[in-house]
């Protein structure tokens, strides 16, 4: 009987030992797996995704992969660097859904349907709030990685870090603007915009497609009193767009067009859309950053869609990006058929 009791105790002890060993083993396996996957994603997945022009797939990756990758913070170091980019891509999905709802709202107004337009506005705000939350989280991953922007410049070791810092800043500004559009439902602090403006000065604008100076100028043009210089933000935006066109990543044009649109200068906004469409035809995007360029095109296409819907009740017709309903049409030469027969 004693030996039986002893055996039971031994068995219990052994099981406990195996269980502990199993858990410790799991932890180390998880840790190693996490480190491996994070490294693989940073080194291979991210450059691959950025080099593909399919924004839909990029957005899908952001929504499908974010939680899985960020869950590794439970077993290893928090993958904040990945968080910046994945939240950006997830934010793109929410923004695109919000765009669709905004177009529905405009069609509702156009067809004088109050119920349809009101419903679309509510839905648009829900998606904008979602976009703002995701973009703000992306911004906060950047803050965790590099520190709060605007309080001096962080030490950025290589191009990858500079790129992530820039994307984090873009997230910050977009989060503020989308939060305003969502009746401030996402609770993004307004001061983020001014911080983004100052943080953008830490990057070489000529190297990053003019985007840092476009960001700074966009904040100047949006929030009064932030601009402490005599420089006209519009001049700065134009210059940024030129740099972006030359380098084949035309993100600055999005900010330029958005600011014209915000100030009610529809003519200037249309010109940017036209210039973008021409630039895309003339020069292919930087092969390493096709996704960034494609997202810029989609943003400008949405702006064009809004203008078309306001005027005609439908979005930009196929193949007509850069053209507007009221463009001056060249008179076709009409000859007398009898003279030709």
């Amino acid at each position: 009987m004693d030996s039986f009791a002893c055996s039971i105790k031994t068995l219990r002890f052994s099981l406990a030992l195996v269980f502990c060993g199993f858990c410790v083993g799991c932890q180390s396996v998880y840790h190693a797996t996490g480190d491996f996957l994070i490294k693989y994603t940073e080194d291979e997945t991210v450059p691959y995704v950025l080099s593909t022009p399919d924004a839909g797939l990029g957005c899908g990756l952001g929504e499908g992969y974010t939680l899985f990758m960020l869950s590794f913070e439970r077993v290893t170091e928090s993958p904040d660097r990945l968080g910046i980019l994945l939240k950006t891509l997830a934010g793109v999905c929410s923004e695109q859904r919000a765009w669709e709802e905004e177009l529905r709202y405009l069609r509702g107004v156009k067809t004088k349907s109050s119920a349809e337009a009101s419903d679309a506005r509510i839905s648009q705000k829900r998606y904008l709030a979602q976009a703002a939350r995701r973009q703000h989280q992306g911004y906060m991953h950047m803050v965790k990685t590099f520190g709060e922007p605007g309080l001096g410049c962080p030490k950025l070791n290589d191009d990858n870090e500079e790129f992530l810092y820039l994307i984090g800043l873009v997230n910050g500004l977009q989060a503020v603007l989308n939060n305003i559009g969502a009746d401030q439902e996402a609770g993004v602090p307004m001061s983020v915009a001014a911080k983004v403006s100052r943080g953008s000065r830490c990057l070489n604008s000529a190297k990053w497609w003019g985007t840092p100076q476009a960001l700074e100028a966009a904040v100047w043009a949006t929030i009064p009193g932030i601009n402490q210089t005599d420089i006209d933000p519009i001049d700065k935006l134009k210059e940024a767009s030129e740099i972006g066109i030359e380098q084949g990543v035309r993100l600055s044009q999005v900010f330029e067009a958005q600011i014209y649109s915000a100030k009610g200068d529809v003519k200037a906004a249309k010109q940017v859309v036209k210039a973008h469409a021409e630039a895309v035809k003339k020069m292919p995007p930087d092969p390493r950053l096709k996704l960034m360029d494609r997202i810029s095109t989609l943003q400008l296409q949405f702006l064009s869609d809004k203008l078309w819907t306001n005027a005609k009740g439908h979005r930009t017709p196929m193949g007509r990006l850069g053209h507007f309903w009221d463009d001056h049409k060249e008179e076709a030469l009409e000859l007398d058929i009898d003279d030709l027969l």
């Binding site: 107004v109 009193g225 932030i226």
Partner: protein, 348 residues
């Protein structure tokens, strides 16, 4: 003679038929016109343009107005003076501007932001609800213009560089930033012995942040948006006493809109009061407790009386509308009958 009567009779029948036809066509055209006249231009002042919160709110308003058979085209303005000029020139059918600017069109509602007149959001809600009722409609119209709704924009607080500034007397000799658009701010600064420094909204808070001003006033939203916390460091603060209640108001040209539009508009805009207030309150809650400067009850009495005297003085200078001041005094006395001003000889 019989023939003449017959001709006249035929003519009469013909005339009646034409008259009926004209009436029918007229009523059809009228119905069509009434159903949806041409789209109206609503010009909106928002420093952020279409990216700003006011423009955003007006997009919702636009959808509701469709149900009243009024279609709006929205046009953003980042300068309210230009918006007001375009409105006067007929380029806009309606505008949304600050209460300060509304004084050009309706002195009654343009006085709602009078200093110290509505000490809490309960007072504000009571005032705005009262003014959105059909009984107050006659006060909403002045000349060719009518106020179509009043949106709360939050209480204005004093932001000071030195938190030792606790009483009105402490403001003496200080450089006080005032908005050029609101003459009452300059008058008030002079009244307390300060040096008013005129500015537009773009320079006001940056001048405070860089030390060119000792005191500015504004709603809590500027704390984050204009980074006023930078100007408060190291020993400044926000005086926990609402100086006035800011508002945005929709004004329209009465003749351009169908009958009843104004009342529908005012009631809808008031129905959104709580939503607007929750956004305002979240801005106020966003200011950390360490910055708030409590005013002791004994000093509050002095503040209240100084502001009351200032209002009376500004009324004499025709900056404030006396009728509005009376309405707001009655609201204060209704909510707090024990206030000394309720029995004062010189009550508003």
């Amino acid at each position: 003679m019989k023939q003449l009567v017959k001709i006249l009779d035929v003519n009469k029948k013909f005339y009646n038929s034409i008259k009926c036809l004209c009436l029918l066509i007229g009523s059809m055209l009228y119905a069509q016109n009434y159903a949806f006249a041409e789209a109206k231009y609503l010009c909106i002042y928002d420093t952020g343009g279409t990216n700003g919160p006011v423009y955003n709110q007006m997009q919702d308003y636009r959808t509701v107005a469709l149900a009243w058979n009024v279609e709006f085209n929205l046009k953003p303005y980042t300068d309210e003076r230009i918006a007001a000029e375009d409105f006067k020139a007929g380029l806009c059918d309606a505008i949304v501007v600050t209460g300060f600017k509304v004084r050009d069109f309706n002195s009654f509602t343009g006085t709602l932001d009078a200093i110290g007149a509505l000490p809490s959001y309960k007072h504000v809600k009571t005032a705005f609800q009262t003014l959105s009722s059909p009984k107050a409609a006659k006060l909403m119209q002045q000349g060719a213009y009518e106020v179509g709704g009043i949106i709360p924009a939050g209480a204005a607080y004093l932001f000071v560089k030195d938190r030792e500034v606790r009483t009105i007397q402490d403001l003496s000799g200080k450089r006080i930033g005032v908005l050029d658009i609101d003459p009452s701010q300059r008058e008030m600064a002079l009244l307390v012995g300060g040096s008013p420094v005129g500015s537009d909204i773009a320079r006001l808070y940056s001048n405070f942040n860089n030390g060119a001003l000792d005191v500015v006033s504004g709603p809590a939203i500027v704390y984050e948006a204009m980074e006023v916390y930078k100007g408060l460091k190291p020993k400044g603060g926000v005086v926990d006493f609402p100086l006035g209640q800011l508002s945005l108001q929709l004004v329209f040209r009465t003749k351009k809109f169908p009958d009843g539009f104004g009342q529908q508009s005012r009631e809808y805009i008031f129905s959104e009061f709580d939503r607007a207030l929750s956004i305002i309150k979240s801005s106020e809650e966003g200011i950390p407790k360490k910055w708030w400067i409590e005013i002791p009850p004994e000093d509050r009495t002095g503040y209240i009386e100084t502001l009351r005297q200032a209002r009376i003085s500004l009324k004499k200078k025709n900056i404030y509308n006396g009728k509005t001041l009376t309405v707001m005094r009655k609201i204060r006395c209704n909510l707090e009958p024990g206030r000394s001003e309720c029995t004062a000889v010189d009550r508003e």
